[in-house]
């Protein structure tokens, strides 16, 4: 029920990101969402894309410091308060979020996050009736 995210360790230096994006472009992989936080010397670029396993293999074979991580993605109705409801479920269960980002896709708000216990988080979210995005849905949504 989790989806794959690419986590790429990059040096904080001009030109490092574009090399990675060009490799994905040449492989015909479509980005759905991405995020980078700023740090002094290095950053982690996180990417949700159309074919994460193939994207991972492409980058790995090119020598990029990439890992394939499991994250949870939930689709929310695009209206006020839905994010609070979703995160409230995790909070009630005492589950911590390591990181979270969000984007809009096909009229839905999508929250992506990794928790300290993905299994328990998924269980709680399902019980709460949330729409959890599956990996096979990603390529469909991306079209």
């Amino acid at each position: 029920m989790t989806i794959h995210q690419l986590s790429i360790f990059i040096e904080n230096k001009a030109g490092t990101l574009v090399v990675i994006l060009r490799q994905l472009k040449e492989a015909g992989i479509q980005l759905i969402a991405s995020t980078i936080s700023d740090t002094v010397d290095y950053g982690i670029c996180r990417i949700i894309c159309s074919e994460p396993v193939r994207a991972y293999e492409t980058l790995r074979d090119a020598g990029v410091a990439v890992s394939l991580c499991e994250v949870i993605a939930v689709a929310l109705d695009d209206e006020p308060g839905r994010a609070a409801d979703a995160i409230g479920i995790l909070s009630d269960e005492g589950i911590s979020i390591a990181y979270l980002y969000s984007f809009l896709l096909g009229g839905k708000g999508v929250l992506v996050f990794r928790t300290d216990n993905n299994e328990r988080a998924l269980d709680a979210l399902q019980r709460g009736g949330l729409d959890i995005i599956r990996e096979k849905d990603l390529s469909k949504l991306a079209i």
């Binding site: 986590s7 936080s37 290095y42 982690i44 890992s67 990794r114």
Partner: protein, 436 residues
């Protein structure tokens, strides 16, 4: 009160007198070395008898002693006296490889203190002076070595030890410190902090003499430090294998360091052919201790590159002068007075499965102080959050610090970032120009 210019009569011996004394002491040292299992075996292995060593020229029949010998015989294998006769032990750092141990008898400690006192006296230190030692104490020989030497001379001696710059400066002003021992980069740091605090070293302190050593530095650096602090700065040379400080020291001429030839027999060799080089030519310094009980070392390869300065010194001492250290014949790094081998860094990094085997040590100077950056490559494929990366970075830094005793800046890089070199890997980039 009128003082002599000399602390010991041995200082003014002419060449003939020095060589006569050296010959006597070499013979008794060789006889004494036969009480060490190591040297007994080394002599018998090549069929050399102690009686074969009669003159200074015979010295070259003896094989070199190396740092590896010290490691191989760790901890007490080179002792020439029973441990019950030893009263002090100094050891090098290093937790991954065998460190080196130097043992001292009470007489050795007295001789060591005498040598340091002689050095300090030579540059004008007198019992009226106040001596402040900013060297680390403990195993670091610059601490206790200068402490006992300064006390032997009769100075009021302040064991301020390393760090706590504000307190050091307060001691200068409160105690009327006139002589300071510091590594050159710390002397610059002291000046910076004095400026920040509005302390003028010329007006607000009685500082007159600075003893700098342990960290290679250029003539330009010395002059800069002298101008900053309004002092005369004298270069000091020593190493823990030869007790510590007090091996060689500049006289008021500030032109080369007199090496005390009543303590050591000096040779300069080509580190490749191992043949002696003529005076004036740079080679590796090789020392034989001829005034030590607990652990005499015969023809010890110091790995320091220097040369004998030809000619007479106007100061009246005939003990040979060595030039400032020109470099190393091995890959040892000297940072903040601490000796570091790249292999120590490599062994620490090797314990982290998250890292690739390539690494690069860079040494730089900023604001008069040296620092080390260690670049490493991340290969772990499971790292997905900053907290884990920061923990990793902190753990690497802490373990390196525990091993090399200075805190490096650790830089995590993606795999493939460290430039590959053809042939022998370049592990160290030194941008400090410390040997110029």
């Amino acid at each position: 009160m009128a003082y002599s210019n000399f602390f010991n009569p041995e200082e003014t011996l002419d060449r003939e007198g020095i060589e006569k004394l050296q010959t006597e002491r070499l013979r008794s040292t060789i006889a004494h070395c036969m009480d060490s299992a190591f040297y007994r075996k080394r002599f018998s292995d090549i069929g050399l008898s102690p009686n074969d060593i009669k003159t200074l020229d015979d010295l070259k029949k003896i094989p070199f002693t190396t740092k590896q010998d010290l490691r191989d015989t760790y901890p007490f294998g080179l002792a020439s006296v029973p441990l019950s006769k030893c009263t002090r032990l100094h050891s090098s750092s290093g937790t991954t490889g065998n460190p080196t141990v130097i043992l001292h008898t009470q007489k050795d400690l007295e001789q060591w203190a005498n040598a340091v006192a002689r050095c300090l006296w030579m540059v004008g230190c007198r019992p009226e002076d106040v001596f402040q030692n900013t060297s680390g104490y403990g195993m670091f020989t610059g601490g206790l070595g200068f402490q006992y030497g300064a006390e032997r001379l009769g100075m009021l001696t302040v064991p301020a030890a390393a760090g706590n710059t504000l307190r050091q400066i307060k001691f200068f002003t409160d105690f009327g410190t006139t002589v300071v021992h510091a590594i050159p980069s710390y002397a610059s740091r002291l000046y910076e902090v004095m400026c920040e605090r509005g302390v003028d070293p010329r007006k607000d302190t009685k500082l007159r003499t600075l003893v700098i050593g342990a960290e290679p530095h250029s003539e330009e650096t010395r002059r800069r430090i002298e101008n900053m602090l309004g002092v005369k700065a004298y270069n000091s040379f020593g190493m823990s294998e030869m007790c510590g400080p007090g091996v060689a020291f500049e006289c008021p001429e500030q032109n080369g360091m007199h090496i005390w030839e009543d303590y050591y027999i000096v040779e300069i060799i080509d580190p490749v052919t191992l043949e002696p080089v003529p005076d004036g030519e740079v080679g590796e310094l090789v020392l034989t201790t001829i005034n030590r009980e607990a652990m005499p070392l015969l023809r010890y390869r110091t790995r320091d590159l220097t040369r004998i300065l030809p000619g007479e010194c106007p100061c009246g001492r005939h003990h040979k002068r060595i030039d400032r250290i020109k470099g190393r014949s091995d890959d040892m790094i000297i940072l903040k007075g601490v000796n570091i081998f790249p292999i120590q860094v490599e062994q620490v990094l090797g314990q982290f499965k998250e890292l690739a085997s390539d690494y690069l040590i860079t040494l730089d100077t900023a604001d008069g102080s040296d620092y080390m950056t260690v670049e490493v490559e991340l290969i772990d494929r499971h790292i997905d959050d900053y907290a884990a990366l920061q923990t990793l970075e902190r753990n690497i830094t802490r373990m390196l610090r525990d091993e090399i005793l200075v805190t490096p800046k650790v830089k995590l890089l993606p795999k493939g970032s460290i430039p590959q070199s053809e042939g022998k890997a370049v592990r160290v980039k030194d941008n400090r120009k410390q040997y110029q």
